[in-house]
């Protein structure tokens, strides 16, 4: 049943006993098919990105009876993720989730309790980012937009991207090269700084964070 790529079953022991930290946080890396999510994660992760399988059962979780899960319509999808240690206390997980609407069943589980999200965008396929933007806005999960560098894609200024995606003025837009560690670092730092700004501006308790 396993493909030749199933190397995750035999983890390198040094990678496996990964961390002494017991506190953890997560950041969601969302985006359309082939936009570079796994590359982005791999550029900063201290482990090779791992893959887990999320399945439709999470969407059907309201039903305790598994027999009621409609297997005809159920889908499974691989979700790749990586890890960054923050000092010895905290470990941050980066979860790459498919951005298309039909994978929305995964988003609740992945985004619940997340610090925030990076939405990776290919400027040639801007429409792919509408679904994750709508979703994170509706959940009040803060996000930044990171346009990944593709040779075939038009290079738009952040302002053009903002306009095309109808983004609120406070949402940061950065350009990244998902293969470059420093570039990915910058995108993540932009997200964390965005969270800090939101905290500072919303020092009065407010349900909407984004």
């Amino acid at each position: 049943m396993t493909s030749s790529k199933a190397s995750s079953s035999t983890p390198d022991p040094t990678e496996r006993a990964s961390t002494r930290a017991t506190q953890s946080a997560k950041i969601v890396i969302a985006g359309g098919f082939g936009v570079g999510k796994t590359t982005f994660v791999g550029a900063v992760s201290e482990i090779s990105p791992l893959s887990t399988e999320a399945s439709m059962t999470s969407a059907a979780a309201h039903q305790d009876d598994a027999s009621k899960v409609d297997t005809k319509t159920s889908t499974t999808v691989a979700m790749d993720f990586g890890r960054i240690a923050v000092g010895e206390e905290i470990v941050i997980y980066l979860f790459g989730t498919p951005g298309q609407n039909r994978f929305a069943f995964m988003w609740d589980q992945v985004s619940l309790g997340a610090l925030g999200a990076v939405i990776l965008v290919d400027t040639a396929r801007l429409a792919d980012s509408h679904a994750p933007i709508d979703y994170f806005e509706s959940k009040g999960l803060p996000f930044v937009i990171a346009t990944n560098k593709f040779e075939h894609s038009p290079v738009g200024s952040p302002e053009q991207v903002r306009e095309a995606l109808a983004l609120a003025p406070h949402v940061p837009v950065v350009q990244v090269d998902a293969r470059e560690r420093s570039s990915v670092k910058h995108a993540l730092i932009t997200l964390v700084e965005h969270l800090l700004v939101l905290k500072a501006t919303a020092s009065a308790p407010s349900p909407a964070m984004a």
């Binding site: 995750s8 570079g36 399945s55 297997t71 499974t76 979700m79 960054i84």
Partner: protein
């Protein structure tokens, strides 16, 4: 769509997107004896789980899947990593880990959110040093 079930490591796509569950050899709920939902509070997927270090502190575990999870935990590891390394669906890993923690067989770390400003500063500094 590939004829292989997508248990393995994905490439830089969404592993060919959706894969029909008809090709799965073991459905996730079979690993959890039919449950798709933990009977206890479910832990988030990033929760770091650890097993007692002392063998004396390890109670006997009969359930095979529970045993696999504990055997994997030579060090702390998140639920998502447990899922990836044992190649069980994320959903099943959440159910199993949550129940084992509730039963006292494993311990769970805490998860942090963005309400902690000190933590955010710490994360920013750590990212800058990366």
């Amino acid at each position: 769509m590939s004829a292989q079930p997508s248990w393995g490591v994905g490439d830089d796509s969404d592993s060919a997107g959706a894969v029909d569950t008809d090709v799965e050899l073991v459905r996730g709920f079979m690993l959890t004896r039919g449950r798709t939902r933990a009977t206890v509070r479910e832990l988030p997927i990033e929760t770091v789980i650890s097993a007692p270090i002392s063998l004396d502190a390890r109670p006997e575990i009969r359930d095979r899947e529970h045993q696999r999870v504990r055997d994997l935990l030579i060090g702390p590891m998140s639920i998502a990593e447990i899922s990836a390394h044992l190649m069980i669906p994320l959903r099943a890993a959440v159910v199993i880990a949550s129940e084992m923690v509730a039963a006292g067989h494993l311990s769970a770390g805490s998860t942090v959110d963005s309400s902690d400003t000190d933590l955010l500063h710490k994360i920013r500094s750590a990212l800058q040093l990366l």
